[in-house]
Amino acid sequence: MADTTNTTDAPRTSLGMSDASAATGEPGLTQAWERKQRSDEPTVVVDDVHIVYKIHGAGTGKGSATSALSRIISRKTSPTIREVHAVKGVTFTAFKGEAVGLIGSNGSGKSTILRAIAGLLPPERGKIYTNGQPSLLGVNAALMNDLTGERNIVLGLLAMGMSSAEVRRRYQGVVDFSGINERGDFISLPMRTYSSGMGARLRFSIAAAKSHDVLLIDEALATGDQSFQRRSEARIRELRQEAGTVFLVSHNNKSIRDTCERTIWLESGELRMDGPTEEVVGEYEKWNRSRR
C-alpha cells in the first residue's frame, strides 16, 4: 500500500505537500484498503456549504416570447423559477486513506454534495477545497443511445479526459471487461438495442476504466449478472486502492458497513451525524425504525 500511495503522491509534492505525504508512507501495512492508515492530510474540506437548485418551468410552461422579452427587460426573475435549498451549511473534512459513506433518506442532499465536491455544482455559499480533481464514477451523461457501443466507449473515455492515444490503448480492455462481445458482435450495434443489463455493464466498464485521486461513487454500481457483479466489485476495490479518498453514496447499509470506516448522515440538507460507521449507521437505522 505504501508503494502505491507514494507513487500517486509524486506529482502532488509539487503542490507543497511533501512533508504530509511522506508521513503517510508506513511500509508493511495491510493490503486491505479498509484498514488503510488515515493520515492527517486532508483531501477534501467542505466548509459551510449551501447549494441551491434553480428550477425553471416549475409552473406554467415556458411562456410566450413577448412575456419572455418583458421579463428580460424588467430584469425580474421568472415567476416559474423555484429554488430548492438542497444542502444547508454542511461542514466536514475527509482525510487521505479514508473511505467515507454518505447516508440519508431520499432527497437529503447526498448526491448533490457529491457533485459539489467534484466541482460540478457551484455552491451558493461556502467553499469546498480539494486535493487534485475529485471525479464522479459515471459517464452516463456523455453516452448516446443512438450510437454503437464502440463509438460510445471512445466518446465516454474521451469525455473522462483521456487522450486519443490513451483511448486506443484502453479500448479493448473496456470491451473485454464489459463482456458485451461474449455472445457475438454486439459492440457494433446501437446502444438502444442493448438489454438494460448490457447497457449498465457497458456504462460501468467505461466509467471504471480510469483511476482517480478522490473517487466519488453514487449509489449501487454493481449491476448485471453474477459474474459481472463479481468483476465490478473487484474493480471498485481496485479503484479504491488507487484513490486517496473514497466517498460512497448508498442506500445499502451493508455496503456502507463493508466499505466505509467513517459515515456522514445527511438529513434534509443538514449534517445530522458524522463518525465511525457502526455508530452512525446504527443511529440511522434506529431513526428509520422510529419513523415507521
Binding site: 411562456g63 416570447a65 463509438r151
Partner: protein, 306 residues
Amino acid sequence: MSTVSEQSGVAAPALDPNAGLSPAQLAAKYGLTVSGARPGIGAYTKQLWSRRSFIVTYATARLTAMYTTAKLGQIWQVMTPLLNAGVYYLIFGLLLQTNRGIPNFIAYLCTGIFVFNFTQSAVLAGTRSIADNLGLIRALHFPRACLPIAMTVIQLQQLMFSMGVLGVIVLLTGEPFTLRWLLVIPALVLQFAFNAGLAMIMARFGAKTTDLAQLMPFLIRTWMYMSGVFYSVSVFANHLPHIATRVMEANPALVYIALIRYGLIQSQTTSTLPHHVWPLAVGWAVVVGIVGYVFFWKSEEEYGRG
C-alpha cells in the same frame, strides 16, 4: 459550527496537529484548492486544447445520432439543405421575384442561405448549449467552452454537406470551376471563428437567461433579412445615406456571404463586395472570437447551477 468540533473530535486522533484550525486554514495549510474554481485563461486554454479530440468526437457523435432513427439516415444531411434551398427559391425567386438584376440567382440564393444558416444554427445551438447539456456538465469535468465550440463544429460539419450540394448547384447553373473557389476556405475559417465566438457569448447569456432560447429565432430572422440572403442589400441601400450603407455593409454575416459568393460565382465581381471586405472578415473573426472566449471563460464556474 458544532459540526466542526463534533467531526474533529470523532475522526481525528488525540494528537491532531491540525487542532484549532478553521476549515479554510486547514485547506490552506495542505495546499488544497477550491473545487470547481475557474482556472486562469492560459491553463483553461491548455485544458481546452487537450480536449480537442473530445470536442470533435462529441460533435460527430451528436450529428450522427441526429439522423440514426430516420429511415433514410445520413441522406438527410444532404436533403435538408436542398429542401431549404427549394423552399426559398419558390418564395423569393418565383413568387416574389427578388432576383431583380442578379445573374445566376439560384447559386446566389443558395450560397446566401447555406452560409447564413451556418451562423444562425451555431448561434441557436450555442444559446442552448449549456441548458441542453446540464447532465453532462453535472457529471463530468471539462472546460465548458467545449460545448459551444462543439455545437459550432457540428454546424461546420453540416455546412460541409451543404457546401458539397452547393458546389454541384453552382456547377449545374453554368459556373466554371476556377481558382477563386479556394477563397471559400479562408472565408469559412474566419466565419467559423466568428461563429464560435458568438456561440460562446450566447451560451453564457443563454445559461443565465433561458428565455433567450425563445427570443433568439426572432432576432436571428431580423438579422437574416438585413444580410442580403435573398436579395442584394443594394436594393434598399440606395435610398439610405452613405454612412448607413457602410454600417449595413459591415454586417459580419453579409461580409462572409459576399466573400463566398465572390469565390463561387463569376458574375460577382470585386465591385459587388463591401468595402474593406477582408479586413472586416478578419476583424470580426478575431474580435468576436477572442471576446466570446474570454466572456465565456469569465463565468466558467457558474455553469451547471442552472
